[in-house]
Amino acid sequence: MLESLQHLWTGFGIALSLQNLFYCMVGAIVGTLVGVLPGLGPIAGIALLIPVTFGLNATSAIIMLSGIYYGAMYGGSTTSILLNVPGETASVITCIDGYQMAQQGKAGKALAICAIGSFIAGTIAIFGLVFLAPPLADAALAFGPPEFFSLMVFGFIVLSNVTGGSFLKALMMAVAGLIIGTIGLDPVTGEGRFAFDSPSLLGGIEFVAVAIGIFGIGEVLVNAGKPAQLLAQQVVVPRLAELYPSLSDLKESISAILRGAGIGFGVGLVPGPAPVIATYASYMVERKVSSHPEEFGKGAIKGVAGPESANNSACQSAFIPLFALGIPFAPPTAILLGALLIHGVTPGPMMVSEHPGLFWGVIASMYIGNFILLLLNLPFVPIFANILRIPKTILLPLVMLFCLTGMYSVNNSMFDVWMMLLFGALGFLMRQWAYEGAPLLLGLVLGPKLEVAFRQSLMISQGDFEVFISRPISLAFLLATLLFLIVPLLRRALRRSKNRPAIG
């Protein structure tokens, strides 16, 4: 522990050099930008800047590229709150309460609490990264296909009703997500499914297209359907006194931020789209522990603070498997792995001893980067909040344009743009009949992973289903899922028998 602190001190020496400070800042700014732009996410951002780093030394390069990753988590919430367009996949949940807050003139508060929560959670997670990396990385290895499957089942059942509406409708949406997730190449046999020989469908449906479609385009369409006069009146003027969170807001949010940090850190260690799942889990927990669950979905500050903290913390802990094992669990860290290799650094068990300067320098830069991001984001809050002063008749076409260009930039594919529009229309219909978009996206994220883990497990066990219950971690998750389903039923049955003691 003491040794780690000493190394960290040296790391700060490296990270605070003028050059590295500069690249940390560039990374933070670029990260915020790609986070703000819908479609363009940290993956594209890092990939675009890799060639720029060829002339740099490895430490500066990785400092800048990691900055893009966690910087994007700060920026991602901005368009979610202001326009209901998820700027980044991990900001889907933020749309729910963030957008409602903005419509009530509290956009500034929501934006600021995101930055503050991200800063606190990010800083906590880096501490975890410093002190717990090697043991946690080994623990993550205990998750083989059967454990992973059971965990995904647990996540699927527990998180599908994330917003707390009708359980039946939520489950229907989640299953629809699962079905959409099966389009494309079969992950086990490599054959095309529901692709009708179209190479684009063979590639599967892009998550970002569904997310921006259902949330962003759907919202534009709903507004476009309102009478023009009503639309003209709907300018949201941010209240000056509510530009920044008050002390009581902070007090209310701090517990959500801390819980979000913890949830994000844990989920970040699991392979897969950790930041996305972490936001769902955090939102679910906040709604469950809240004494006013009815406020969720109508602009609850905790519903913004928790998930936004969770995605930042998950993104920091995703560095643990990368640095300690040399294996990326998520796409953005996969690109960072590529960047490390280009610079002659092989991440993995030997990295800390082979390149101590780089390792501790990058870790220290994360503290500095998070601080820079806080300073960078808070002053922009009033500017961003004022975007909502733009009359909707002008703002809506702009949002549409923003979504179209953003979507195209992800894979440079027109097919994705058409998909986004298709899901936009679907999102509009879903809004009309009160179906939630979040469970569908969850199904789409978890589905392919769930299927692969299930089939892998059975291939390893040669068809024996016992593999799911003979392994303790897997069994524990399955039992927890069962409990989650049974307890409310039992409680209801109990209540009923109490209310009607005369029968029988």
């Binding site: 060829f54 190479p199 092989t346």
Partner: protein, 315 residues
């Protein structure tokens, strides 16, 4: 204003009508379509060679990722691109596999080879503390227990999966093949002890071998690897089997030969550049040059080989 527009239009039309000449090539940036996601081994290698080639070509070389469909999306687009030399595609082993597995709008013959850049051996990795000391013990166990040893690969029908199946035949054993969503996840599963071995191609798994957590159980190359000179090939141990993963560049069919020549010369200089050599060595990938003709021949050989293998596998 209107005049200027007309002049511009005329210039454009004239320019379009003139035949493309190598002397004018390249007049603008050249893009390389990589049909895999950013950050993967293929992406990283082509980004590195693009960066070191720009100064020899005199124009920017841009890598564009068009992932999806196991490469089908990117290859389809590249095959349909204008054959003017401004759109290239990273041609790697799966180009000769995919058309046999699913219905594709392309085969390797939809492209003109430009240059082969790397050729890496495939290999089996196991944990360092695996119960088998060497290849002999490993195969003995496999023979005695057919379908018992689980071998992870980076995706069903992908390059290393077929390599593992081909090795199975050469060594006359049977493995239980488990597909993963890429080399990274398969190596993770091996580290956690969820599979017994994995079939990979560098740079996948190299860091863990260097760190002593994993070992190379079987090396499928003609020569030993520079990085691990103590590891014998399977050929040395009496099994006539070698198979690797090549990566090179190709242009859409119909690209003029002199344009291919210009590109070939620039990328040859780019791959000989010390900067690229160093990144390749750091990654553990083996630089291997061949000219368009040789590259075409080896593609044809592999295509015939995989056509037969996929057919056998589907039976």
């Amino acid at each position: 204003m209107k005049n200027r527009f007309l002049i511009a239009l005329a210039v454009l039309l004239l320019g379009g009508a003139l035949p493309l000449q190598a002397a004018d090539f390249p007049a603008k940036e050249v893009q390389i379509i990589v049909p895999w996601a950013a950050g993967g081994a293929t992406d990283v290698i082509f980004r590195a060679v693009a960066a070191s080639t720009e100064k020899y070509l005199g124009k920017a070389v841009v890598v564009v990722n068009r992932p999806g469909g196991g490469g089908a999306v990117g290859y389809t687009e590249a095959a349909r691109a204008a054959p003017d030399g401004y759109t290239l595609v990273s041609a790697i082993t799966p180009l000769t596999i995919l058309p046999h597995q699913v219905k594709t709008a392309f085969t390797y013959e939809s492209f003109e080879p430009v240059i082969c850049i790397t050729d890496d051996p495939s290999m089996f990795l196991t944990k360092s503390d695996a119960p088998w000391k060497d290849l002999k013990e490993f195969l003995q166990y496999a023979k005695a227990n057919p379908n018992k040893i689980t071998v992870g690969n980076s995706g069903a029908g992908g390059g290393v999966h077929l390599v593992a199946v081909a090795f199975e035949k050469a060594a006359d054993v049977k493995f239980n093949h488990i597909p993963f969503a890429g080399g990274g996840p398969s190596v993770t599963a091996l580290l956690g002890g969820h599979v017994d071995a994995v079939c990979v191609s560098p740079p996948e798994g190299i860091p863990q071998v260097k760190a002593g957590k994993l070992k190379i159980m079987a090396l499928f190359s003609e020569r030993r690897m520079k990085m691990f000179p103590d590891v014998p090939t399977v050929k040395e141990q009496g099994i006539d089997f070698a198979m690797g993963m090549w990566r090179g560049l190709a242009a859409p069919k119909g690209t003029p030969p002199d344009v291919i020549g210009t590109l070939h010369d620039a990328f040859k200089k780019g791959m000989d550049d010390p900067a690229f050599r160093k990144s390749a060595e750091d990654m553990g990938v083996a630089v291997h040059y061949s000219n368009p003709e040789t590259f075409k021949r080896s593609m044809a050989l592999d295509d015939a080989f995989f056509a037969k293998m996929v057919k056998d596998l589907k039976k």
